[in-house]
Point group: C2
Chain length 532, copies 2
């Protein structure tokens, strides 16, 4: 984060990076029927925030804030529906207090106090949840605390031999990479939220990262974790692998703040890659493109990047305007050249009817390693910018949101077609006009893949939230009917609860509730998320 | 299993494959001070089995057996201490009944009946547990049933596109591979117990398989599971990846029959490899050998085979008699030649001081793909034969057993030295003479590795069990002091409970007990394993 900018309380990222009113208008003009002018975000002073209903206990007083800016900034995550509500000044779930613990003792004290005082505690990393993961709607607690872990941001220890480090859960992506760089190491976990999300948040939500194949989720990089629950502190042993009973870490991974507060973790790291190659391959139709990705994965190849953009997504991101599918492939290594590995994937893609556009450097030997092809670069910068554009569209009362899933290869074509048809129909019916429904495959596996959909449509000022909720319900319906997961890496939060409740096996739900009751008997931790 | 042989009720594998009395004597002669003649295994008719204390309910009568051979064969697993007790005719934990369900309904009926009648149910795959996983010692139930899942042995469904199959949990390794072969597919899960263990057993115990790197545990090959608990049947969705809450499957993986009975699973499969290369590299000392393996893993290479034998292990298995460390490397693919991939690993091993013995075929192009080097082949056949030799040694009243663990790279040298020193001291003190303590690395990771130790020593007839239990306690002590896992892939069972209770985080233990109580309120499932 640079010094002159600060986090937006209502929208994505940094205030300085938000689009100007004129830029909003230019994006708004791409969709027919939108208002001429963007919504002006309210200032914090404009907001009517409910007065705090609870007081911090004296021992924690200097860790707590009731500053309206802190409270407003901790009310929502950064989903489209969060931005819409914030822009409208609707701040009902505002926390009474924001607690900034300086260390584990403060967290223990907070949970002790909250358990006694019936205060809900919502763990908060950097607040970029897009699934309502940090928004209180848990019922009738006496008060709500947002537990902001940003001070737990230290790199505690590096084990160079095992290539692992003990890291505070509150550290954000850039600070983590800065701390690891002098050791020649990297976590290489780059979700789209990289700048505005924390290690603890990634772990609690089973975040999806840099690697498009192989070790796609943060789960696979965890050596051990330390977790503060309302009934005690747990720490698993640092182990490269184990078969001793069900994995303790796997119960906490994806627990989304409902079972405990992750305070630190030993993470498996990577050497910083020095050899990199990327290439793009284009296809004229879905069948061949999907088959190519499947072919690469089923050859047990594990390219670091293997992202397939459908024609709409390729166009939106600027990767191709020719109505074709674009597969962006990349290999990397800190140890050996990767030309041959990339060539194997490109060859499979060609065998399935793909063509390599002129100017794409996939041939071994020719270009310097850092030269990358245009489609990949364009897509990358667009990837980082997308959430800011989403906010600009929201200010123009457009609907702009994403949802993602995963399914096996036998179902992918049907799922892709059905999602586009049914969500498209919902968009037309609800907004009165067709919208864009684009898709990219973000992560792929030998047995299936994770499609990520973007919806852009003209909304109606004042009715955006209801419209999106209806469209989202249609999306959940088609996904769950196909038994595709309600989330591959965005987490469940509050927004995916209806689908999650259908997806989750019933006896597992009961076991999870029992575990929750054991660890959090007062039911204060992130109520409403995952478990009632 | 061939038609003319049958499973040994007291020892490993098939009765036909057991070593003759003369062979026992030849092995016994290698250790000073053992008796001249092997113990003659009792016949089933010799055994004094407690009369069954319970009767099968009429609806299950034709699924139940009280045949002494069935009951004797289901009393123990196949650990050294099991064989010793069986040879001595000590059959205290004998189950009252063996139930052979024909399908899921029979399992539901069994669990319903058992829950009402306070009957313990011990799920039984093919009975090759080496950790007391199938032996009842859970307290004072009214009776004990061994639930033998061998009839749930069908390949139900193959999804060729996703390269996955729905498979009955009771199928043994060879039958599974036979069923998959016509589809050109393989699970490629080859634990040492391959012939005498089942898919359900692998899943329940987080079995370690064929791949020495990357996807080492069966866990990573699970797409979805179906589990019968005493309170209902669960089935997870088939998903290639998901981030929807804590993984339901990961709670059942490693649950060792305490939470439910796994009846079938969708498993991720492989194409049958057609390209294979292997090579061995030798080292003069531990430091260089460990560093070479670490170097290979930290280059993010994932050879299918990467097994390091210490000098004792190399000698015992016949891989090398020159007092050197032997690293057996192998690469395989169904899609592309693997010469280059193998060459990368071999080069790293050489960079760390390894030398490739003459006659080892690692150079690209030269030998036909099926030609493998001698050390690898010798080691493989010895690997399959080892448990039969173990039984022969047990019959000579020698002590012969293994234990395994995993630790991070920063601790491996110390752990290796300390285990050999402290377990060696225990062997000397307890048996009065030094024994063999060998080690191999079976699975390795970028952040650590899994050493597997073999102990062979002269026991004393009639006192073998107590001697081994003391040696094992010394081993547990040194492992847990170093915070190395009590098991990397053998499971916890009853034998590892003391160490497991130290290793497992306390709040996780409480959560697991709560989940157990929810799923199995009568506490009938495999009591004593994992949870009290």
């Amino acid at each position: 984060m640079n010094d002159t900018s600060e986090r937006s309380w209502w929208g994505w990222g940094l205030t300085d990076a938000a689009l100007s009113d004129d830029e909003c208008r230019r994006y708004g003009a791409l969709l027919p029927g939108l208002p001429t002018d963007p919504i002006t975000p309210p200032t914090v002073a404009d907001l009517r925030l409910r007065a705090p209903r609870i007081q911090a206990p004296p021992a924690l007083a200097d860790r707590c804030s009731i500053d309206p800016r802190d409270r407003a900034g901790h009310t929502y995550g950064k989903a489209y529906r969060d931005v819409v509500r914030a822009l409208a000044g609707r701040m009902d779930p505002v926390p009474d207090l924001v607690v900034f613990p300086r260390g584990e003792d403060d967290i223990v004290a907070t949970l002790d106090w909250a358990s006694d005082a019936d205060v809900a505690v919502v763990p908060y990393g950097a607040g970029s949840s897009v699934v309502g993961g940090t928004e209180y709607d848990g019922g009738d607690h006496a008060g709500v605390v947002s537990l902001d872990l940003s001070h737990l941001d230290r790199l505690h220890e590096v084990d160079r031999q095992s290539r692992a480090a003990r890291i505070g859960a509150g550290i954000c992506g850039p600070a983590l990479e800065d701390a690891l760089r002098p050791h020649g190491l990297t976590l290489r976990h780059f979700p789209q939220s990289f700048e505005f999300s924390t290690l603890g948040g990634w772990l609690a939500t089973r975040s999806g990262g840099h690697y498009a194949t192989g070790r796609t989720h943060i789960d696979d990089f965890v050596e051990s974790m330390r977790v503060v629950t309302p009934t005690g502190v747990d720490e698993s042993w640092r182990l490269p692998g184990s078969g001793a009973g069900p994995s303790p870490d796997r119960l906490m991974l994806g627990s989304e703040g409902t079972l405990g507060v992750i305070t630190e973790a030993w993470m498996r790291l990577q050497d910083r890659p020095t050899f990199k190659r990327s290439s793009s391959v284009v296809f004229t139709d879905a069948e061949h493109a999907f088959r190519a990705v499947r072919g690469i994965l089923q050859a047990n190849l594990t390219p670091a990047n293997c992202r397939l953009l459908d024609p709409g997504e390729a166009q939106l991101s600027g990767a191709s305007r020719r109505g074709e599918w674009v597969l962006v492939l990349g290999e990397e290594s800190a140890h050996h050249p990767v030309d041959d590995a990339l060539a194997l994937s490109v060859e499979i893609a060609r065998d399935h009817g793909g063509t390599v556009p002129a100017g794409t450097h996939e041939e071994p030997g020719s270009p310097p390693p850092e030269v990358r092809d245009g489609a990949a670069d364009t897509w990358r910068s667009s990837f980082i910018r997308m959430p800011y554009v989403r906010d600009a569209l929201a200010r123009m009362s457009a609907i702009s949101e994403t949802f993602e899933t995963a399914t096996t290869w036998d179902r992918i074509v049907t799922l892709y077609d059905d999602v586009r048809a049914e969500v498209g129909r919902a968009v037309s019916e609800i907004t009165g006009a067709p919208g864009l429904i684009n898709c990219r495959l973000t992560h792929s596996y030998p047995d299936g893949t994770a499609p990520y959909f973007t919806v852009v449509a003209a909304g109606q000022r004042g009715a955006e939230l209801g419209m999106w909720d209806e469209i989202k319900a249609a999306a959940m319906e088609v996904l769950t009917r196909h038994r595709a997961t309600v989330t591959h890496h965005h987490a469940v939060g509050r927004d995916h609860r209806p689908g999650y409740d259908r997806q989750r096996p019933e006896r597992f739900a009961a076991a999870l509730r029992a575990a929750k009751h054991e660890l959090d008997p007062a039911g204060i931790l992130n109520p409403g998320v995952l478990i009632d």
